[in-house]
């Protein structure tokens, strides 16, 4: 067998969540990615966020397309249901799965190739439907599995490992999502777990499409000088504008912030996210000003990070379609079949 089962090592003193489970219970198979890959840090953050959110593992649905990033759904929550689909088409699988059962947690992991090239259409339309899922883009600006071609997120003027210069402008999923009416848009960095974990938790609890564009350096093909997705470059050029703390249901907000620098958003289940604004001027509930700030920073080669936009009351797919609270896949057949009498009655129309 070419896959290895990871042994579960537990210790009686390991912290347990509300379900009595340890972080180990949320891990998956061993990663087969390159040592140092940013994606593995994101996987660890997802493990942490799922554990902290006390999700029942078998209620977690992990979805992906094709590419290095898409492999990672096997590396977390092995007790969840995974669906590694075809290249760029994960959003449609997620849409169908979510349509069938609205009451599970859907976590999609994609890459910049999977999302911004082959899958750009499906990505955009999942946003338009406000599909209730967490959508993580592990964004490294490069095609890893096919050995180093530029992706659609590669910055203008950045270079490939062998020196080739990219002369096409990038597609920025964050700006695109805000423009398309996305309800939750965040950017983060694989190297900043303190920022990433609460963002993931907030996205899990958000009712709607929770986008996290996570800059995730490719150590093998895009971590050189001339790359704008290297660890070194990212650390120098990223700026947190809104820090998010996730406050679970029934917990008190423990920290106090100076007036005007914090904002609390209550999620549908009563949990809250607390936004601590590093820049007091930044307003994550205003699409236009958020876009303006992101663009101004990009002109200075800086990536604004944090929860960049949130519209918490936008209706998601099921609200838009007036489906019942009970999942469609659990409706009894008797409720779905109108019966022979109704059919006999209908026949009058065709006589």
């Amino acid at each position: 067998m070419t896959f290895m089962a990871k042994p579960k090592v537990t210790h009686p003193e390991m912290p347990r969540n509300a379900l009595g489970m340890t972080r180990r219970d949320y891990e998956g198979a061993n990663s087969t990615l390159c040592a140092g890959c940013g994606h593995d840090s994101i996987t660890a953050a997802i493990v942490e966020a799922c554990w902290a959110s006390a999700l029942e593992p078998h209620n977690v649905v992990k979805l992906s397309g094709i590419g290095c990033s898409s492999k990672t759904t096997a590396y977390f929550v092995s007790g969840g249901h995974g669906f590694n689909s075809v290249h760029g088409r994960m959003p449609s699988i997620a849409t169908g799965a979510n349509a069938a059962n609205r009451n599970l947690t859907y976590i999609g992991v994609s890459g910049d190739g999977d999302t911004l090239s082959i899958g750009l259409g499906q990505f955009c339309h999942a946003i338009r439907r406000n599909l209730n899922m967490v959508y993580v883009i592990e964004n490294n600006g490069v095609y890893g599995l096919t050995k180093g071609q530029f992706s659609a997120s590669a910055d203008l003027g950045s270079t490939a490992k062998k020196g080739e210069v990219n002369n096409q402008p990038p597609i920025d999923p964050v700006q695109l999502a805000i423009t398309l009416g996305a309800s939750f848009v965040a950017r983060s960095f694989s190297g900043d777990k303190a920022q990433l974990v609460p963002l993931l938790q907030a996205a899990i609890h958000h009712q709607g499409f929770g986008l996290l564009d996570v800059i995730s350096p490719c150590v093998t093909f895009n971590d050189h000088e001339g790359s704008t997705r290297s660890y070194a470059y990212t650390r120098e050029h990223y700026e947190e504008v809104v820090h998010t703390d996730f406050v679970p249901l029934a917990s008190e907000i423990a920290v106090e912030y100076a007036a005007g620098t914090s904002q609390s958003v209550t999620m549908h289940d009563g949990s809250r996210i607390l936004l601590r604004k590093v820049d007091a001027q930044y307003d994550p509930s205003d699409r236009a000003s958020a876009l303006q700030a992101i663009q101004q920073h990009l002109q200075r080669n800086e990536h604004l990070t944090g929860l960049l936009y949130i519209g918490s009351d936008q209706p998601e797919l099921h609200a838009l379609n007036s489906t019942p609270d009970l999942a469609l896949n659990q409706l009894p057949y008797a409720k779905l079949n109108p019966g022979p009498q109704a059919l006999a009655k209908l026949m009058a129309r065709f006589r």
Partner: protein, 611 residues
């Protein structure tokens, strides 16, 4: 069969109405169809419409067939010519001894001349202009007026027509009177100016009791509702769109919770056909009955996903309402052009289960069957209808639902079953039928597994190991053999003494049945098998072995069904003769009969033959 002017043709003739699309002639055509049908006389309705919204020529053909034939007749006896642009070709199309009726408000005595026809001029526009106000009303009423002319000429019952109008306009009763006024204008004019009724006329029968007029897309949609489908995802494409529209219409009526107003279904208009089938696969993987409807170009786009569903073993129901290809082809014309691409949809060793309904009642039945098979086999099931079945009006037995029907959800392990087992192995052949067990997300911690289109072993793990890979694809081959036993059996009409046979599928059925009767009358006896499912079962193999000459009747150029028979059975291909019809019109009995007779008695005119 052309006849003389005096020849009586009671309940056996064809009316064709030539008009311009977007002028409201559809309702008049429907009214005529139903008036004849309610007279107890079977009809066949064929709509030949352009890929356009307004202003192009369109035709509607009504075959009055007391014998209850279900195919196109292949000739026209009465032409109602309302489109001056097509007068010349419409005139040429009428069979000798027939009638050509046109709007003589603008007389065309020189142009419209054929010695072997009766040309009837009715000043339709003049009559309506004198009686109605407003441009739009006059155009609409002109179209109702010709229905009145036909009612007079062909002996239709005016009371029946009034009843039909009253049903149609139940909510706008004032329209009943206006429409009846237009009907009476035409009816009275015909009665006053011509000797009515014509030898080609309708006389009441009792041959439509217990029957309805319905199109295949509506019937298929109803089948989806009754099968318990809850998720419909699609991208609009002619001629499949009306299936999804009908599903929505039925659901809005039958699937909305009376108390809460919540909808026990969801329809998602996808961004393209790739997404549509992806949604169906995602929803089916998650335990809902989900379906999409498409046509040739959409099926091409769905290929990659259909391979994923085949290999990851996910149910999916796809209705392919075939139209004329290749490429965009002729979107509003019919063909059976996707037989091959559906059977082998996707790359690699992929084969897909296909069902071939022949009429709306089978669309209804096979819709439910498709969900049962998809879930039983954990595989896509493609229902290959076509434009002729899907969008034309067919007389069918009333649809009935078996109260005892319960969906076959296949081998889905529930929480209790999962609780009892030690470990769940997703792709393991427990039952030696090639069908593994399946779980749904959120049911039980032991049910978790990882579905993937990449190499996997029988336990559900990723693999690049040759042996492990091969165990799974060999089991899929075994599952395919199981599928051959589960798909609908062919319909066979066989006399052991006869060594000549016809094989057909789908909408060719009516033409073949009628042709066989005609051929038998000429002393040419044939056996018949209609294929209803792919993979072919033993019955097809045995039938092929039992005959010396087998005509394969299908509606495409490249003999796709014949190709499939050669690839998938042991038949000696020299015994398979093709009769191919692929001009976009539905095949007629005459075409089939001529094709057979050309081989069996060579002096007859040959239809196109391959093989």
């Amino acid at each position: 069969m052309p006849g003389s002017k005096a020849q009586e043709r009671v309940n056996d003739f064809v009316i064709k109405i030539a008009s311009v699309n977007g002028t409201g002639s559809a309702s008049a055509n429907g009214l005529l169809m139903k008036a004849i049908f309610r007279s107890g006389v079977p009809v066949v309705g064929k709509n030949y419409f352009p890929s356009n919204i307004q202003g192009l020529p369109t035709w509607y053909e009504i075959r009055v067939t007391g014998d209850g034939h279900r195919a196109r007749a292949g000739q026209v006896d009465i032409m109602i010519a309302l489109n001056a642009e097509t007068y010349a070709r419409d005139l040429a199309e009428v069979a000798s001894g027939g009638y050509f009726i046109y709007d003589s408000t603008w007389p065309r005595p020189a142009l419209l001349r054929r010695e072997d026809l009766t040309v009837i001029g009715v000043p339709l526009a003049q009559l309506c202009n004198d009686s109605f106000k407003g441009v739009r009303t006059r155009i609409l009423m002109k179209n109702i007026c010709y229905a009145g002319v036909l009612a007079g000429l062909c002996n239709l019952d005016l009371d029946l027509i009034r009843t039909l109008l009253a049903e149609t306009y139940a909510k706008k009763p004032q329209l009943v009177d206006a429409n009846m006024k237009a009907i009476a204008l035409g009816y009275d004019y015909a009665r006053a100016h011509f000797s009515c009724p014509l030898p080609l006329r309708v006389e009441k029968m009792d041959a439509t009791r217990g029957h309805i007029i319905i199109d295949g897309n509506t019937a298929a949609a109803l089948g989806c509702v009754y099968a318990g489908a809850t998720v419909g995802a699609w991208y609009p494409i002619t001629p499949s769109t009306s299936l999804m529209d009908a599903y929505k219409g039925f659901c809005d009526k039958l699937r909305v919770d009376a108390d809460s107003g919540r909808k026990n279904y969801i329809m998602i208009q996808a961004e393209d056909e790739l997404a549509a089938v992806g949604m169906v696969i995602g929803a089916s993987w998650n335990g809902a009955r989900a379906f999409t409807a498409t046509s040739g170009p959409g099926l091409s786009l769905m290929q990659e996903f259909l391979g994923l569903a085949y290999y990851a073993e996910v149910p999916a129901v796809v209705f392919d309402i075939q139209r004329v290809g290749p490429s965009t082809g002729m979107p509003t014309r019919t063909q059976q052009g996707d037989i091959r691409s559906a059977a082998y949809a996707s790359h690699g060793d992929t084969r897909q289960v296909c069902l071939y309904p022949a009429n709306p009642e089978e669309c209804f039945e096979f819709a439910a069957k498709a969900f049962d098979l998809a879930e039983r086999l954990q595989a896509p099931v493609l229902v290959l209808s076509d434009l002729d079945i899907g969008m034309n009006d067919w007389v069918c037995p009333e649809l009935k639902w078996d109260e005892t029907y319960r969906p076959d959800r296949g081998k889905v392990l529930d929480a209790e079953q999962l609780g009892k087992i030690d470990r769940f192995w997703r792709y393991y052949d427990h039952d030696n039928d090639g069908i593994p067990q399946r779980t749904l997300p959120g049911v039980h911690p032991k049910g978790a597994y990882f579905a993937r289109g990449s190499g996997h072993n029988q336990y559900g793990g990723y693999t690049e190991d040759s042996k492990e890979y091969q165990i799974v694809v060999d089991r899929l081959r075994k599952k395919w053999l199981t599928a051959a036993r589960l798909v609908p059996k062919p319909i066979i009409e066989q006399d052991q003494r006869c060594d000549i046979a016809i094989i057909s599928l789908g909408s060719g059925d009516g033409a073949v049945r009628e042709a066989r009767a005609r051929l038998a009358a000429q002393g040419i006896h044939t056996n018949y098998l209609r294929v209803r499912g792919f993979p072919f079962g033993d019955e097809v193999e045995q039938f092929l072995q039992a005959h010396r000459i087998i005509f394969v009747v299908e509606q495409n150029r490249d003999a796709q069904l014949r190709s499939l028979l050669i690839l998938e059975t042991g038949v000696d291909k020299s015994r398979l003769r093709s009769i191919l019809h692929y001009n976009g019109m539905p095949i007629s009995a005459g075409y089939v009969a001529d094709g057979v007779a050309a081989v069996i008695t060579p002096q007859r005119p040959a239809a196109q033959l391959v093989g």
